[in-house]
């Protein structure tokens, strides 16, 4: 479009030169020049408007302009940042709501982003590109869960970063404490004792239950 305008302008200018030789009036010449200049400007504006779209369709994009643009739902992410989302759950898989999740940069130790989990334990935060560790922090400020190593590149969305809060604040230690307390009365002892009492063959009693000396 621009080329045709320029070509047209050139032709008209040539005609103008010829007309100039044949004694054109000054006002008419200025009007013609202004008209052609306006045409050139219009063409330039149109070119500037459409050139990027045309270039994007026909030219390979390289370097920084190739940065992917992540979209989460209807939100277009800032291509200079990374988006990390996931859930915080108990060892039993239940969601933990309203607990703090923060992303610690593994290059400088600073907190790169922080948020609180929603009702289903989900969270989302945007951070500068880098390497991160997610920390789950309880109300007392204690870290009760950490994620795996996360490498977050610019413009990317990292999902499914499930972080399990796994300290006694929640349930694991409570569970193991329960096991310890149960260990003193293992099922084998009661089952085999009852089985022997019922006359079932092939039952070995736990060692501590043998009441007669083997030498007898």
């Amino acid at each position: 479009m621009l080329c045709s305008h320029l070509a047209g302008s050139s032709v008209r200018l040539r005609r103008f030169s010829l007309q100039q030789d044949s004694a054109p009036t000054e006002n008419t010449d200025i009007e013609v020049i202004m008209r052609y200049l306006a045409g050139i400007v219009s063409a330039a504006v149109v070119w500037v408007s459409f050139a990027p779209h045309l270039a994007a369709q026909v030219l390979p994009v390289t370097g920084a302009s190739a940065m992917p643009q992540a979209v989460i739902g209807t939100t277009v992410l800032n291509p200079s940042q990374a988006h990390i989302s996931g859930r915080v759950v108990t060892p039993g898989g239940d969601p933990i709501a309203n607990t703090v999740v923060r992303a610690r940069n593994l290059l400088n130790g600073q907190i790169g982003g922080s948020t609180a989990t929603a009702s289903a334990g989900q969270f989302a935060l945007s951070v500068n590109p880098g390497s991160y560790l997610l920390e789950v922090v309880d109300a007392g400020g204690q870290i009760v869960g950490t994620s795996s190593f996360i490498s977050a590149a610019a413009g990317t969305a990292i999902t499914a970063a499930t972080v399990t809060a796994s300290t006694g604040v929640f349930s694991t230690v409570t569970t193991t404490a329960g096991l310890v307390s149960m260990l003193g009365s293992t099922a084998a002892r009661s089952v085999t004792y009852a089985a022997a009492a019922a006359g079932v063959a092939g039952v070995v009693m736990p060692a501590e239950m043998i009441t007669a000396s083997p030498s007898r």
């Binding site: 310890v180 009852a194 089985a195 019922a198 006359g199 063959a201 092939g202």
Partner: protein, 212 residues
């Protein structure tokens, strides 16, 4: 056979078959408690239901009503005379709450639990001779593959190792001081050893360490 007693019960034929079977494979048979409780005491006889292999007569399973309410709540899987595994449903909701695994010497090796309470064991605790927990193996993906191991001393977790990317190699290490997370280290270069460590001081400050 160091010590054995026999008892005439309606199961005599099966019992003898099982004993002969076990003897053939060298399993020592020890049956005790019969004298003190009486042969086939009626109270227990109704609460234990043995299942024998039809071909070999080997005892395979003992179903047991531990609380005597008429409902089986304990399943003891046997290899002849040897207890292999016991599954318990003490609250009788048809969901196993506890899996006990026994070694060849008939001592308990580990206890499994389902952290989601859905009949699938996903954590296995190991104990020392005093009954204190020493190790907890976890299948965080709940697929039976252990990808996290926590170590305990004096009942407290002191460190943990985890394979976070399921490639079969440990790539995350945690250490604890009391209940506090003291450090987390990662193998970001996939070389099998940590190369970056975050150290959490007691005063809340954080220090980074790069491990060459």
């Amino acid at each position: 056979m160091p010590y054995s007693l026999t008892c005439q019960t309606p199961r005599t034929v099966k019992v003898r078959a099982a004993v002969r079977s076990a003897a053939r494979v060298g399993i020592p048979i020890v049956i005790v408690g019969l004298t003190s409780l009486g042969c086939g005491a009626a109270g227990d006889a109704g609460r234990v239901e043995p299942v024998y292999d039809a071909a070999s007569g080997t005892l395979q399973l003992l179903k047991y009503d531990a609380n005597g309410d008429g409902t089986i709540d304990t399943w003891s899987y046997m290899d002849g005379a040897r207890v292999v595994r016991i599954e318990l449903d003490p609250d009788q909701n048809n969901v196993i709450d506890r899996w006990e695994y026994y070694g060849p010497d008939q001592t308990i090796e580990k206890v499994g639990t389902s952290r989601a309470g859905d009949n699938t064991p996903d954590s296995w605790a190991f104990f020392d001779g005093t009954g204190a927990i020493t190790k907890l193996e976890l299948s965080t993906h709940r697929n039976g593959t252990v990808d996290r191991v926590e170590y305990y001393e004096g009942g407290a977790r002191v460190r943990a190792e985890e394979d976070t990317n399921a490639d079969g190699r440990i790539d995350k290490w945690e250490s604890y001081e009391g209940s506090r997370l003291a450090s987390v280290a990662f193998d970001t270069r996939q070389r099998g050893t940590p190369d970056r460590r975050v150290i959490y001081a007691q005063d809340g400050t954080v220090r980074l360490e790069e491990i060459p």
